[in-house]
Symmetry: C2
Amino acid sequence: MKNAYEELTDHFCKIGDLQHVYAITSWDEAAMMPSGGGEARGKALATLGVMIHELTVSSEIGDWLDTCSNLELDEWQQANLREIRREYESATCLPSALVRESSLAASKCEQAWRSAREDNDWNRIKPLLEDVVAWARESATVRSEKTGLGKYDSLLETFEPGMRSAKVDELFAGLKTFLPEFAEQVIAEQACRETYSPGDHFPVDRQRDLGLKVMQVLGFDFEHGRLDVSHHPFCGGVKEDVRITTRYTTDNFFESLMAVIHETGHAMYEQGRPEGWDGQPVGVARSMGVHESQSLMMEMQAGRSKEFISFLAPVIREVFGASGSDPAWSAENLHHLYVRVERGLIRVDADEVTYPLHVILRYEIEKALIEGEVEVTHIPDLWDEKMMTYLKRDTRGDYKDGCLQDVHWHAGLFGYFPTYTLGAMMAAQQFAAAKREMPDILDQLSQGNVGDLLGWVRKNIHQRASLYTVSDLMTKATGEDLNEQFFVEHLKARYLPG
Amino acid sequence: MKNAYEELTDHFCKIGDLQHVYAITSWDEAAMMPSGGGEARGKALATLGVMIHELTVSSEIGDWLDTCSNLELDEWQQANLREIRREYESATCLPSALVRESSLAASKCEQAWRSAREDNDWNRIKPLLEDVVAWARESATVRSEKTGLGKYDSLLETFEPGMRSAKVDELFAGLKTFLPEFAEQVIAEQACRETYSPGDHFPVDRQRDLGLKVMQVLGFDFEHGRLDVSHHPFCGGVKEDVRITTRYTTDNFFESLMAVIHETGHAMYEQGRPEGWDGQPVGVARSMGVHESQSLMMEMQAGRSKEFISFLAPVIREVFGASGSDPAWSAENLHHLYVRVERGLIRVDADEVTYPLHVILRYEIEKALIEGEVEVTHIPDLWDEKMMTYLKRDTRGDYKDGCLQDVHWHAGLFGYFPTYTLGAMMAAQQFAAAKREMPDILDQLSQGNVGDLLGWVRKNIHQRASLYTVSDLMTKATGEDLNEQFFVEHLKARYLPG
């Protein structure tokens, strides 16, 4: 007879199998499905989603968890129980009517958002977003009562377990004062140097070849994954079969290449998680922030380093049949193009210096929204004010490139934004630790050798999956809890080395 | 409150949603998945398959079916109830231990079969196939007791509802005597005419373009489907998003093109089924035979007609940059190549004249196996004997191209083979009926106009889904029940017109 722990693992194995099918079918929806298949697909995935949810809130889980306290379990099994409990409590703490209403409101708002954004129409979206925020506040209140966390923290917890807004405030405080001034200096500095455009016609098949080559260099396992195309780049699929996507425009190769490197970072985390934990909560990625740290490790720490670009330059030239004597195709020029800083309006297009400012702006607004300190109607003014403060850009009346640019809030996601910048900080701190252990890691990158870096993240991050809390994970990997200094030092060294 | 009929349709809607996800994920497995993903995928699909099966045998269905007798239902709803009952009884009549053991034995045999076939090793597969046959006999016995059908008929019923081996014997009797002699005459006749090879290098991307063009001509709806590549061509996906595949060899374009036309025929049936029956048994394809009739309608009746090839020839030439003055690329030569008859060893490579002989051979052996009249150990000798009788080919010792060539028996599929030739007969009978109604249908094909033909199958076959039994469907569509004469006449007219 199976004991309660074995019952739990069997149950989550089953959930994992259904999640596998869900993940592949979702990838298909984004990367393969013809447009006419959308309605039936949405319905089919919703049905499967409900079945997965029902299995996750099954009361048997509670019973098995209660019984488990008597069992002797090893460290991984105990961590698995901890994660199962967290997931179960998080899934069961909201009444199902609340879950349903929130999801309906979000789906309605998200659908309207697509066209409202195009039409720059804030008034059309406002009442729908007010509904979404009302339900998010209600969810936060219920979660807060059950967990004892603050309201915003109870939502943040669902994306970044263990993280609290007091800590985020601390981490962001330094950046908030440092970055605006720093960005200005970098922009002034970069204005003095000449850069050259390598042209504006890059066939998609060549760009794809380049992406595949770089994935190979980064250690992507093509026996367990693929590269395809979708509207927005993402990393999907399952650990055993990771599906990353990029998108191509023929007028430049910069974006598709860095998107591939970024998503490959996510993919390496998935491919590198320990085997034998199918569907078990301890075996999955630790948090959104940690996941982002792995993509930024590849894209920002390694990918845009002068060393790696010096390795990439001849590879890129060969793919596009360009000459090394053309200054536009020199490693130096390509590096300059890849570290160019601009105060733009759009978060997803931002460089790593200004990106955190976009995140902090959103974090501050969403926290105040959830805590009930501001209302939806205040969002545009707050946005304009903060854009002016942080990035000196006037966005008044430009909702499209302002508060309507991201899907997150319209889809009911509050507490997600900070994880982008937490990930950037984690990546810098991890890379610094790896460099301390292996001082020649940048030299290796200039040879296109990522083996040691990959070994380091495999051992310190990937293979640990959700064994430790984020805080413990960072401390074990880097010797200290997360702090923003490594990120700041990284930016200084890369952008104002003088 | 929902009545019992509504409960049933909701339940089957849910099953349909899960089947949608299953279908897309299975397509992905064959067309997209990297090899390393296989193990996890197999497990995930097995779990989903079990959930679908559990929903299909749920005892609530029986209760709802009982209550439904009091309801007033229209013709479609009554047919839906009939099909639900058939599916429910078919799914519940075997004890689950028997289902599990059969499936394990088949999976073991199928896996071993792949390498045993390559190694021409009959003795390795024999004991495993004996297991599979033992379980198939047991299933047939249980089904036979529950349904009152004969043993083999109770398996045939699961692929071709309403069809009985007595009727198959009758239909095949004429072919069995007619075809061997006829094939000989055709081969002799064809030996006298000269054919020319159009070369042996056909780039895959051109072949793909050609396939897409022809799909367009045949009316495939690309808003609701795709063309991709897999090891064996198939038609998968769902009605709203039909996924067909082909395979390419660069040394000829004949096979990939006809595979595309064949699978497009299957796809047109799926795309043409009535809307609004998501997951309902009355809304799905009628039977394997009827499905095959739709693929053969496109491939054999229309696709290989002199008229359609005369339309295709310039399209093909344009794709491959060939000249119309080259005799190898003339419509006449291409038609000759497409109707060439040969007594080959391999069923899937056979032309439409010899194909039924391959099927009859298998049908006779599998019927005798299930009825307990012969044993697995007799298969090779029976095979050799029948190959000699029907196709004058000596296959002694050649298991690879003999009784090991097909996956069906090794995968536990008995009662499937006859549906190929039933489909060929249905297609001929349907095409003859369409031609009677619209005598210029072949003229239209020579213009690349399939509109009237498609309209005919849409109205008479596709839109009726599973509303009628196969026998009623054929009678309503063609004025009489299925018989072999139209197929025989078709072969005579095409292959020995003199």
